[in-house]
Amino acid sequence: MGIEILGLPLMYYIAMVAKVLVAFVFVLLTVAYATYAERKIIGHMQVRLGPMRTGWHGLLQPIADGVKLFFKEEIIPSQASTFAFLVAPLIALIPAFITFAVIPFGGIIEIAGYKIPLQIAAYYDTTAGQVFDVNVGVLYILAMSSLGVYGIVLAGWASNSKYSLMGGLRASAQMISYELAAGLSIISVFMLSGTLSLSRIVELQSGFGGFEWYLFKQPLAAFMFFICSLAEINRTPFDLPEAETELVSGFCTEYSSMKYAMFFMAEYANMVTVCALTVTLFLGGWNGPLTGAIPLLGPVYFIAKVYFLMFVCMWIRATLPRYRYDQLMHLGWKVFIPVALVNIIVTGIIGYFL
């Protein structure tokens, strides 16, 4: 390991590129097969079979869908604002993917004497003997998720169609409201952890066979954060921006081909991110039995927990009807935000006396 580039060993760069590729491919594959899993799961919950024709039990369905969308005609409405119309799907998709940079998906693994923390934006400092990661990880995620709203708002506005505009307006109002509630509900977690670094938060949740998870210390915050996140990424029961019965397809009505596919991918990538963040903050991240002996078990536990939460999302979609707009706003502003504030105060009082 004599080779150094800009003061860092060559292994650092190899590990970085490898981590980025692995995480990216993982998210892409999960997104592709989440669409399949969702159709299958909802199908079986409604006593249907779901996709069956393409491949064994429809396993090739995501690939067929991808190929189909790729070869569709690309239509840009003549009255649309071209620049905003073209850039909107990108703005929706990119924040969903880059949030994965700070989520730790495993412990430290050692390859050829070089220690690699399984988190993209992190490195192991050999002189200090500890892992350095983005020490405002959670804020970074909140910041990025607040940018995702632009994609939807711009798509709605640039399409120059009334359905799109209504969808875009609904989406922006909803996302701003629930961003606040989600942000407030996780403050109580930081009050317990005393840090904003995600790898440190995961570390603090290890031990006692899972009973150190913040889910048990902050059940209310965990519940509220998950619900608010569902609302923020426009999943059922909060999928008003694309309510088919009222708005055709909401903000992406005018989109076709790959640009539509990008919105679709953004939705599922957001779901993966939200589930990963909930796992990291409340379900102990990659912690689990035997991770100390076999470090590669960390990612396995992490993925299992994320997939479980994604299953819960699909379950909710199969079970609950859509909220009405005024109910949605009422829930966000008059229920979740006050409850989150009370939760912060109670956590503060208990923390002061303990």
């Binding site: 604002s81 804020l139 909140l142 940018l147």
Partner: protein, 167 residues
């Protein structure tokens, strides 16, 4: 390397800032402004202030600009027909010229005397930027902090009174 990165970010910042004032379409102006905010956030990261960077993106790009875009959408301002605003242009350029002049003078003068405080880069990296800001804000700068929060409270009450006819 850092200088090169700084130059690239600065180039993007300047171009997007120029686009903010030259774009005909208000939404494109707003997008350029978001881009400028991003570049500012990048500067904060380069200055060892990650908390500021995150808050910059979250508050300005994430909240304030969303409201701006929201307003533009609601008013449905389309591309402005080519009107001439010659008198405004002259006043604007005079103000802009003197501001730039002022900044240049300040830059040239203050090059030798960079401010030095108790918090060097090493200390910030060791303790953590977030914690340092929190400590300072709630101890030494508690009074300004409280005054700011009262100001915000007044603004919120004002907004509620303006928006609601009947309370």
């Amino acid at each position: 390397m850092e200088t090169l990165f700084f130059l690239i970010v600065s180039l993007v910042a300047v171009i997007s800032a120029i686009l903010v004032v030259t774009c005909r379409n208000p939404i494109n102006s707003a997008l350029s402004l978001i881009m400028t905010f991003f570049c500012l956030a990048t500067y904060y990261v380069m200055l060892d202030a990650p908390f500021m960077a995150a808050v910059q993106v979250m508050v300005y790009a994430g909240a304030i600009m969303v409201l701006m875009v929201f307003t533009i959408m609601l008013l449905n301002i389309r591309v402005d027909a080519s009107k001439k605003h010659s008198h405004k242009l002259i006043f604007g350029s005079i103000i802009g010229f003197f501001t730039v002049l002022n900044l240049i003078v300040l830059l040239v003068k203050s090059r030798a005397a960079l401010p030095t405080g108790p918090y060097s880069g090493e200390i910030i990296r060791k303790i953590g930027h977030t914690e340092l800001i929190g400590r300072e804000m709630f101890t030494n700068f508690l009074l300004p902090f409280e005054i700011t929060s009262i100001l915000l409270l007044v603004a919120i009450i004002g907004a509620v009174i303006l928006a609601k006819k009947k309370i």
